[in-house]
Symmetry: C2
Subunit: 422 residues, 2 copies
C-alpha cells in the first residue's frame, strides 16, 4: 500500500477501503505520510466526496488515535451536546444545569476560545475560583454526585483528528461534509458519548451554508452514531441570528444567570429550552413534550438556577465576585428606523479588541470586558437610543459603524430553528 | 492576497487572476507558500481544471522563474522537439542530424534518465569522449557552425516548474492537462524555442490515456505557443508500440546509426521521418511534402549520417570506440505463434537491471548493457527463435517470461501516428 496510489484512487472517484483509510491515519500520525500528501488527499476528498463506509472508517480510526474516555460508570442517562462552530457557546452554561436539574447527567468537556469565537471554559473562568482542570476521577465523581461537571478538554483525544484539523485550516479543505462529520463524531466517540444532541448551525456566516448541506451532515452524523451505538438528535438552527445580548466572558455568565432565573425572554432562551428538552428526552427516554414540561418547570421553580449555583460551588467558583469593567461607553444611534441586522463577526472582533478574547494562545483575557447590545432585531430605534454598551479597561476609539444595520421598514422575524432530524 | 483564499476559490470552481497566480508561483518559490498548501491547490486544479487565461499566466510565471536562454542570435530557422514522457528518447539522436542536414538549426537541451526511461544525454555519453556540458557560448557557436548541438539541460531553467513537478510526483497530481501543458511549455519558453514539434504520446502506458485528452493537450500547447510567439505542431502518436529493437545506451546509438545510414526499416524510422519532416517544414517555412522529400533524400544520400558524424566529432566523441558488452545471452521462445505484444515497461526494468540505467541519481551506468529485441510485433515465432539478446557484464537470472506475448493468431498492425494538430 502506498499513499500516492491511495490519492490517485480518490482523485479518480474510487472509494478507499477500510485498510487504506487505516493506513492513511496511522501513516499521517507517525509522519510517514507527509503534510503535502495528506493535504492533496484531503482536497480530493473535499471535491470527490466519500461514501458512508469510507466515512465510518475515517471516524473510527480518528477516534482510536488518542486517549478514550469511558463514561459507562455514569450509567445510561448521560447526554452530551455539541454545536457546529460559530460565535457564542454560552448555551452550554445555561443548558447543562437545566438538564442536570431534570435528572439527566451532563459530563461536559469544553474547549477554549481563539480569535473572535468564545469558549465555554473561558467564560467559566470569569467566575473567580472556578476550577476547569478536573482529573478524570474527580470529573466522574462530580457527575455522579451532582449530575453535572464541566472541565477543559484533554489534549490527547482523537490525535489524528487534531492533526488533520490543523492542516485543513491552512489548506482550504475545511468545507467538506464527510470531513466535518467525521471530525465531530470521532471526538464524541473518543469522549465516550452515548446520547448526543447536535446544534447544526446553518447560514451565510456558518460552515454549513444551506439546508441541503445541513441535512446531509445531520443524517451522516446520525448514521455514524448508529454505527457506534450513539443516539444522535440534530437541531438545524439559524446561524445568522445573534443569540442573546451579551458578549464577553463575565457578561455572558451574567446573561446565563438571567435566563436560568427566568428573568429574560428571547431567542437565546428559546434555543436553550429546545436543546435542553431534546437532551432530557434522550436522557430519560421520555417524549419531547414531557421533557419540555420538566425543563420549563425547573426554570420557573428555580431548580435549574439552583443546579447552576451548585455546579459553581462544587468547582470552587464564587459567583458573587463576578468581575465588572471599570468603564462603560454607550454607543448611541445617529439615525432612526428599525434594527434590521447585527454583524456578529464584527461584534466578535470588537469584543476581542476590548480585551474579551485572545488573538494568540498566550494572550491574557480581561474577563470583565465585552459588549451589551441594547436592541434586538426588529426593535424601533430612535436617534440617541443606546445600541450597545462597551465594557472595557481600554481606551475606546474608532467603533465600526457598520455593525448595526438600521432600515426604514421593520424586517420580518427570521426563523430560529429550521428542523429536527433524528 | 493569501493562499487559503486562493485555494478556496479554485475549490469552488472560480478562476484565479493573473495576480493570484503570480502570487502563488512567487510565494511557492520563496517558501512562503508551503508544500502542503501547494499540493492542496494542485489537487484542486487537477479536479476543477483551469481556463486558458489561467494556464497562460501559470506558464508565464513558471517560465520567468529561472534562467532564460536567448536563441535569437541563431536567427529564425531554429526548431526544437519534445516528447511527452515515455520510454525511448532515441528519436532525438536520429532526428537532430537529419533536420540539421536539411539546413534547419537544432539547438537541443536534453535531460538525463532516472529509472527505466532513457535520457538522450546518457545515450550520447555512451560514445567515448562525447562532451555533453557545453557552455552557453560554445553551444550557440556550435549551432551556428554546424547547425546542430546537443547539451545537457541547465539546472536553473523554470525553477518553479521544477519544484512543482517534484511535488506533483509525490502527491498524485501528475495527471492534469493544464499542469502538463504549462510544465512543458514553460521550459520551452525559458529555453528560447520559437518553433516546436511536440510528440504527444497516447496510450495505456502513457500520461495521456486517450485521444480526447491528447487533443485538448495539443490544442492547449499550441495556444500557449501562440501567446508566446512559438509555432507549435503536435503529432499524436501511439505509445503502446515499442519503437525500434534496441534498448540500452550504446545499443541505441548503434540503432540510430543504422537508421541514419538508411539500413533499417520499421516504425522507429517512420516516426523519425515524420517528426523530422514537420521540423524541416517549420524551420524552412516549406510544405510538409517538400520537407519530407528533403528528409528522405538526405537519408539516402548519406548527408544525414555525415551530419551525425560531424556532430559527434565536434563534441569530441569517437564513434568507432562504441563499447560492446562482454557477454551476450540469447533468450529463445519456448512456444510458437505470432508476436502479439511486448511490455515496454518490463523491458525497461530488465534493461536497467542489466546495468543500462540508474535507480538512483548517483548510480553509474554500464553504457554497453542493454537488450536487442529479435522480433517485431506480428512476426511469426517458432520454438527456439531468439526473442531477445541480453548484453551485460552481470550474471543473468530470472528473466520475466511475460515480457513477450505470443498468440495463435497474427494481430493486426496498430496505428503509429494518430493525427497532426497545428
Amino acid at each position: 500500500m502506498n499513499i500516492i496510489d491511495i490519492i490517485n484512487k480518490k482523485r479518480k472517484y474510487e472509494s478507499l477501503t477500510d485498510e487504506e483509510i487505516k493506513y492513511v491515519i496511522d501513516g499521517y500520525l507517525n509522519d510517514e505520510i507527509k503534510d503535502y500528501q495528506m493535504s492533496s488527499l484531503l482536497m480530493a476528498i473535499v471535491l470527490n466526496d466519500m461514501n458512508n463506509d469510507e466515512i465510518y472508517s475515517l471516524t473510527k480510526y480518528m477516534a482510536d488515535s488518542g486517549e478514550k474516555l469511558d463514561l459507562s460508570p455514569l450509567g445510561n442517562n448521560v447526554v452530551d451536546k455539541h454545536s457546529t462552530g460559530g460565535v457564542g457557546d454560552k448555551t452550554t452554561l445555561i443548558i447543562a444545569p437545566i438538564v442536570a436539574s431534570c435528572g439527566v447527567k451532563v459530563a461536559k468537556m469544553s474547549g477554549r476560545a481563539l480569535g473572535h469565537t468564545g469558549g465555554t471554559i473561558d467564560k467559566l473562568e470569569a467566575i473567580p475560583g472556578f476550577t476547569v482542570n478536573l482529573t478524570q476521577a474527580d470529573f466522574i465523581k462530580q457527575v455522579n454526585d451532582i449530575y453535572v461537571a464541566i472541565t477543559s478538554q484533554t489534549e490527547n483525544v482523537a490525535l489524528a483528528d487534531k492533526k488533520i484539523y490543523a492542516l485543513r485550516d491552512v489548506t482550504g479543505t475545511v468545507e467538506s461534509i464527510p470531513l466535518i462529520a467525521s471530525s465531530i463524531m470521532s471526538k464524541k466517540i473518543a469522549l465516550g458519548a452515548k446520547k448526543l444532541v447536535l446544534d447544526v448551525k446553518v447560514g451565510k456566516g456558518a460552515l454549513i451554508k444551506d439546508l441541503t448541506a445541513a441535512r446531509r451532515l445531520s443524517r451522516l452524523m446520525i448514521d455514524i452514531g448508529k454505527e457506534n451505538n450513539i443516539e444522535v438528535v440534530c437541531m438545524l438552527t439559524n446561524m445568522d441570528i445573534p443569540l442573546g445580548n451579551n458578549i464577553g466572558n463575565a457578561l455572558e455568565v451574567a446573561e446565563a444567570i438571567e435566563i436560568l432565573r427566568d428573568h429574560k425572554e428571547g431567542q437565546l432562551r428559546t434555543l436553550c429550552i429546545e436543546l435542553a428538552s431534546h437532551m432530557v428526552s434522550l436522557g430519560l427516554n421520555i417524549s419531547y413534550e414531557e421533557a419540555m414540561t420538566k425543563v420549563l418547570t425547573n426554570l420557573s421553580n428555580g431548580m435549574a438556577y439552583d443546579k447552576f449555583l451548585e455546579l459553581v460551588k462544587y468547582q470552587h467558583g464564587e459567583i458573587d465576585k463576578l468581575p465588572q469593567a471599570r468603564s462603560k461607553y454607550e454607543i448611541k444611534s445617529m439615525t432612526e428606523g428599525y434594527l434590521a441586522d447585527i454583524d456578529a463577526y464584527k461584534l466578535g472582533l470588537l469584543s476581542m479588541s476590548l480585551g474579551a478574547g485572545r488573538k494568540n494562545k498566550e494572550d491574557a483575557i480581561d474577563y470583565s470586558a465585552g459588549i451589551v447590545i441594547g436592541k434586538n432585531i426588529g426593535d424601533r430605534v430612535n436617534v440617541g437610543d443606546v445600541l450597545m454598551t462597551l465594557h472595557t479597561q481600554k481606551e475606546v476609539t474608532n467603533i465600526d459603524s457598520s455593525i448595526f444595520k438600521i432600515s426604514d421598514e421593520k424586517v420580518s422575524e427570521e426563523k430560529l430553528i429550521y428542523e429536527i432530524i433524528k
